[in-house]
């Protein structure tokens, strides 16, 4: 009961419910008319001058109509609905499709897929730059106390400076273009990454380093053949988590200088009062982050076969097929063996 896991079937049902419950609440609030619906959606403008499908609060609607009737003009007709910023689920669903197919309102503006590609380009470059700088530095800091004491106090200090504080500085250095945004993501990610990687490096069992020394490893080889392979699985995990952190920095980076990417799409649609598109954009961001994270986690289990975690047959076959070429190149392809999770003992040997 306490601290015992549920059966996989039950766990899956509950996982589905976790997503289903907010959806159900959303549906009820949108489709059941007397639950909320504090606004009026105008279906016939009459002589009011308001557009069709625009919204007014109940009070304003009643007052406006009174004034129209008093004037002798035709009153507005409308139906009760939720406020303009709370679209129904089906509207958001359609919006997720139409957002990609609708051409942008202004000729020069980017399509949604172009914005998306721009976002991904910025985070890819920014994160890679931060990783290339942070991994060697983190490894050295974690292994040698000299580097650690030299670098970490300063890195720790800068880490507390929130990245948006640097935006004005970056715009000054790089101007109003992509480089400023990439710089922001690199700054936001680099300092935390160094500290996280240094700490991960310190988790390596020092007995392994001693064993390697008694086998004749010098300092350089200790670093490349013992420290790095020893922690590479945890490093992968750390990088995966840091991508999540840099995703947040991306949203901020897109808003500084000239707005680009998905944040541009979201803020533009909010300006035009297409809140269904706003929701669609936000959900899209969440989905991309989720899919990236889950995919990396999935592959991670396979990239490091020495960890004692069993992988089911379907996953293993899929991953083996997809990663065949890179593994062949790296010389990691082996003849198939029985399930990795079995322990063997050679009781037969006397």
């Amino acid at each position: 009961m306490i601290r015992t896991p549920l059966s996989p079937a039950r766990a899956m049902v509950l996982k589905v419910c976790a997503f289903l419950m907010p959806l159900v609440v959303w549906c009820i609030t949108s489709y059941v008319p007397w639950i909320w619906h504090p606004a009026m959606r105008i279906t016939e403008p009459g002589d009011s001058g308001m557009r069709v499908k625009s919204y007014l609060s109940l009070k304003d609607f009643a007052e406006f109509n009174e004034a129209l009737v008093k004037d002798g003009s035709k009153p507005m007709a409308g139906r009760r609905s939720n406020p303009y910023w709370f679209p129904a689920p089906h509207e958001v669903l359609f919006a997720m499709y139409t957002a990609f197919t609708t051409p942008p309102l202004n000729k020069g503006d980017p399509w949604l897929h172009e914005s998306l590609a721009h976002s991904i380009k910025i985070i890819a470059i920014g994160f890679s730059l931060a990783a290339i700088l942070a991994i060697p530095l983190g490894l050295l800091c974690g292994t040698f106390d000299l580097f650690s004491k030299l670098n970490e106090p300063f890195v720790d200090f800068v880490r507390y400076m929130p990245a948006p504080a640097f935006s004005a500085l970056l715009l000054g250095i790089f101007g109003f273009n992509d480089q400023a945004k990439i710089g922001l993501i690199t700054l936001a990610t680099f300092f935390s990454m160094v500290l996280v990687i240094a700490n991960t490096t310190r988790t390596l069992d020092p007995a392994l380093l001693e064993a390697a020394q008694t086998l004749g490893a010098n300092r350089k080889r200790l670093l490349t053949r013992v420290v790095f392979p020893g922690i590479v699985a945890n490093l992968y995990n750390d990088l995966r988590i840091m991508i999540g952190a840099s995703w947040t920095a991306l949203m901020i980076a897109e808003l500084i200088g000239e707005k680009t990417g998905l944040s541009l799409f979201i803020s533009q649609q909010a300006k035009y009062f297409n809140y269904a598109n706003v929701y669609a954009g936000i959900i899209l961001i969440g989905l991309i982050g989720l899919i990236t994270d889950q995919t990396l986690q999935f592959f991670g289990r396979f990239l490091f076969p020495w960890q004692a975690k069993p992988v089911d047959v379907v996953s293993r076959t899929v991953i083996a097929a997809v990663t065949f070429v890179p593994r062949k190149v790296l010389g990691l392809v082996r003849k198939p063996r029985s399930s990795s999770s079995e322990r063997v003992s050679d009781v037969s040997v006397a």
Binding site: T214, R225, V344
Partner: protein, 299 residues
């Protein structure tokens, strides 16, 4: 009433055993510890962990170092391996002083410390690759050593898939692949269950009989020491010093029948007396609480 045994003196040796020890003394000295001392600076002052450790290990000997917990056995072997430095004295391998770890003193640890990201084969190849052997040569040599410890079917398995005894055998193969002058073993069978321990002792004996290797072995198990060793160095605590170096009066290789041999028991008793000296202090008797019913007859 106490059981009494008529035990021979542990120093009595049959002519064959005496001749064997005479032959051993002809062999060259491979490892020598000269007046080794180790002192720690703590907040309370200076603690002496080891003092005046002086003994020589000759070629193809199997020496056991034994002592109660905390008498500096692990410190001693770490100093010999080069993982710690002595505050006085020297460690000489083939007459040359050594201070850093190196492949000439292979080490097998209590916790196996196999590299988890490498297969058995690659683990054993590690030392050879450190010596810049080519891949093919390293691989074929590694396969020989894995065969020597009897684990050829398990070449491509990862350490987490092996049992404790197998992991230790891989660790031994890994250390031996470097062809060290002396193999240091820090309580290698301490983490294994009793049955595996017996198997591993036989394994070690077989390896030692068939490979040109000198072994320095730390243990706290008295039976293990008497069963395996040519000579036993007995350490005492506070500070760590050599109490006695005992020559085990039994022929090599040992077999199971010797476990009940009189000389075995005599040597073991001597070790026991050295490590746990019989004292008649008040603390050796536990206070008795009246927990039985009056009239209860246990004996």
């Amino acid at each position: 009433m106490s059981l009494s045994l008529e035990l021979p003196d542990y120093r009595e040796q049959t002519p064959e055993v005496a001749a064997r020890f005479a032959r051993i003394k002809q062999r060259p000295v491979v490892l020598e510890l000269k007046s080794l001392g180790k002192q720690f600076q703590t907040t309370k002052g200076t603690t002496t962990a080891l003092q005046n450790i002086d003994f020589a290990v000759r070629r193809r000997e199997l020496i056991c170092v034994i002592g109660a917990s905390g008498c500096g056995k692990s410190t001693l072997i770490r100093i010999v391996a080069g993982l710690d430095f002595p505050t006085s004295g020297q460690v000489l391998v083939d007459g040359n002083p050594v201070s850093a770890p190196g492949p000439d003193r292979g080490m097998v640890f209590q916790g196996y410390t196999l590299f988890p990201w490498l297969t058995v084969k690659k683990n054993v190849m590690f030392g050879l690759q450190m010596k810049d052997y080519g891949n093919g040569k390293a691989e074929s040599e590694a396969k020989l050593w894995v065969d020597m410890v009897g684990l050829t079917p398990f070449l491509d398995l990862y350490p987490h898939q092996l049992s404790g005894g197998m992991k230790q055998r891989v660790a031994i193969a890994r250390a031996l692949a470097n062809q060290p002058r002396v193999l240091l073993m820090d309580e290698p069978f301490g983490a294994l269950d009793a049955q595996t321990r017996c198997q591993m002792q036989s394994y070690l004996q077989q390896i030692w009989m068939n490979v040109d290797i000198t072994i320095l072995f730390i243990t706290h198990d008295l039976d293990e020491a008497v069963y395996l060793a040519d000579r036993i160095v007995v350490l005492g605590p506070n500070p760590g010093h050599i109490k006695e170096i005992i020559e085990v009066p039994l022929p090599q290789p040992r077999n199971a029948e010797m476990l009940v041999d009189q000389r075995f028991i005599a040597t073991r008793k001597r070790l026991d007396d050295l490590i746990h000296p019989p004292t008649e202090t008040a603390t050796s008797k536990l206070p008795m609480l009246r927990m039985t019913v009056v009239g209860d007859d246990v004996l």
